[in-house]
Each structure stands twice: as C-alpha cells, then as structure tokens.
C-alpha cells in the first residue's frame, strides 16, 4: 500500500521529508535508454563520451531528474500529487564501468502555500560531493 498522504498543516519550512541513496551502474543507463528512447551514445560508449570532452560515460540528465523525485513521490503517497517539477542540470554524473556512481538525494520543505495546500519541496542531489541538479523544485498537492 502507498504511504498515507502527509497532512499539510504538520509541515514547517526546512523540514527534511525524505532522503535516499541510489546506486547507478552502466546497466541502469542501458535500462533508462531503452525505457525512455534516448539512445545518445554518450550514455553507453566511453570512446564517444571522451571524444566530446566528458570524463567518461555519463547518466542521462533525465534519469537523474527522474530518480531524484522518487523519494518525494513515496513521501507524498501518490505520483499524481506532483503538480510541477523542475530542475537545472549543473554537473554530469559520471558512471564508472565497474564502480558505478552513487547519487544522494535530500528533500526539504522550501515553501508552503497554505491556500492551495501545496508544498514546494526542494531537492539537493549530489554525486561525489557535488550538486548535480540546480533549482530542483517539486510542487506537491497535499491533503
């Protein structure tokens, strides 16, 4: 069963509502390529990635965006409660062929709109100590 939807009135700006660590492997990138239809070879071929100046194969920005919102979806109890989601792609996530890459997500209440009962949840998504998504904001409609 999905988690019950959080009560808007119990939230305070600054509350951390969810945290998660995701281990990406090259397999994750191949799976996302197939599921999304984004077959840009910089996401599976090191030779092509390095030829365009990247340190190696990188994760699809849209994969990082897609997984970073999941802790918020689980907290909200329903993916249908997300009414707006935006990010800026600031740094690539380089996925090592053997070690993979670990992405860490922390979701915090950034703003509360009492009239609409909408919480703006701000995401901090890091890889190797650096933030990889800027202005990552999820607007969630609550009960």
């Amino acid at each position: 069963m999905p988690a019950p939807t959080p009560d808007f009135d119990t939230l305070t700006v600054g509350d951390i509502v969810a945290e998660r660590t995701v281990d990406l492997s090259r397999d994750s990138l191949v799976r996302y390529a197939g599921a999304s239809g984004d077959f840009n070879p910089i996401h599976y071929r090191d030779d092509i990635a390095t030829s365009v100046g990247l340190p190696g194969v990188i994760a699809h920005g849209m994969l990082t965006m897609g997984l970073a919102v999941q802790p918020v979806v689980d907290w909200a109890g329903d993916p249908g409660r997300v009414e707006d989601y935006q990010v800026r792609f600031t740094r690539p996530v380089v996925v090592d062929p053997t070690e993979g890459a670990t992405v860490t997500i922390s979701a915090k209440v950034g703003q509360l709109d009492a009239e609409a009962r909408v919480a703006r949840i701000d995401l901090t998504t890091t890889f190797g100590g650096d933030t990889v998504l800027g202005k990552a904001q999820v607007r969630v409609r609550l009960a």
Partner: protein
C-alpha cells in the same frame, strides 16, 4: 542558431498511446517504487483510472517534438553540440495508462550567451478530448566554438 525560431509553433506530433507496460518499464528505470506506478488495483484505490506514470514520463511524449525542432532545416542546431540545460513539467492532471496524448511544440525563446545559444521549447500535451494534461519545457544549450 536562427533567432527567427522564436515564437515558431510546430505541427502536432503523432498521438502517443500510453501503455501499462511502458509505465512499468519507465518506472523501473527511474527507480520508482510507488505501487500506483505498478499495480492497477492500488492506482484505482487511490482514485485513478489506471496506472499513473512517474512525473518525468512526459519526456517520452515530448521527445518526438524535440526531434522536430532539431530536424528543422533552417534551425541551425548541431545535435552533437546540444546539452540539456533545464527541464520542467507542469501538470493539470497526471498521465495514466490508456491516455492518448498529443504534443505540440512552440519555441518560446532563443538567446545568445557568448559563443553559445540557448533555446527554450515548450511542448503542450493534451489528451484525446483536447484537454490539457502537462506542459514539458526544455532549455537546450547549443555550445559554440570557444
């Protein structure tokens, strides 16, 4: 990049029929765990008609419209130099399995930033009744010679 692209609206892309298995496949790929993405009974119990797609799923529908933009003969966009700058999804309602979605792209802004160009394109996605479901907005950065 051609500055005259600003304001251009493209013909609607071919309708996209959202399937249950596609939602499950996409949800797995983005590490989703909500039963509402996978289990029809759980989705219905939460008041949805069918499985609900993850919030970033509309990118799959938007993709055809971005392909139109990149293929536009007078756009002057070299795909190998394109970097995704930012992305946004603004929903009127969530995408559910069974939706037949049609996306229409409009270029809202073209800017130059030194040797680079930035193009912002908005894909408006409607259902079979023509009702708005979600707008997907992308800013693409086209790197120039430094």
């Amino acid at each position: 990049m051609n500055p005259e692209l600003q304001g251009r609206e493209f013909p609607p892309a071919r309708p996209y029929l959202v399937g249950r298995e596609k939602i499950r496949e996409f949800a797995t790929a983005v590490f989703a765990t909500s039963p509402i993405n996978f289990d029809v009974e759980a989705a219905r119990a939460a008041g949805h008609r069918d499985l609900v797609a993850p919030p970033t799923f509309p990118v799959v529908v938007q993709e055809a419209t971005l392909a139109q933009l990149l293929a536009e003969p007078d756009a002057g966009i070299d795909f190998s130099r394109v970097v995704h700058g930012d992305q946004r999804f603004t929903f009127t309602r969530p995408v559910v399995a069974g939706d037949e979605l049609t996306a229409t792209l409009r270029v809202t802004s073209v800017k130059s930033l030194g040797p680079h160009s930035m193009v912002t394109a908005e894909s408006t996605i409607v259902d079979a009744d023509g009702a708005h479901v979600v707008t997907a907005t992308s800013t693409l950065v086209v790197r120039g010679d430094e």
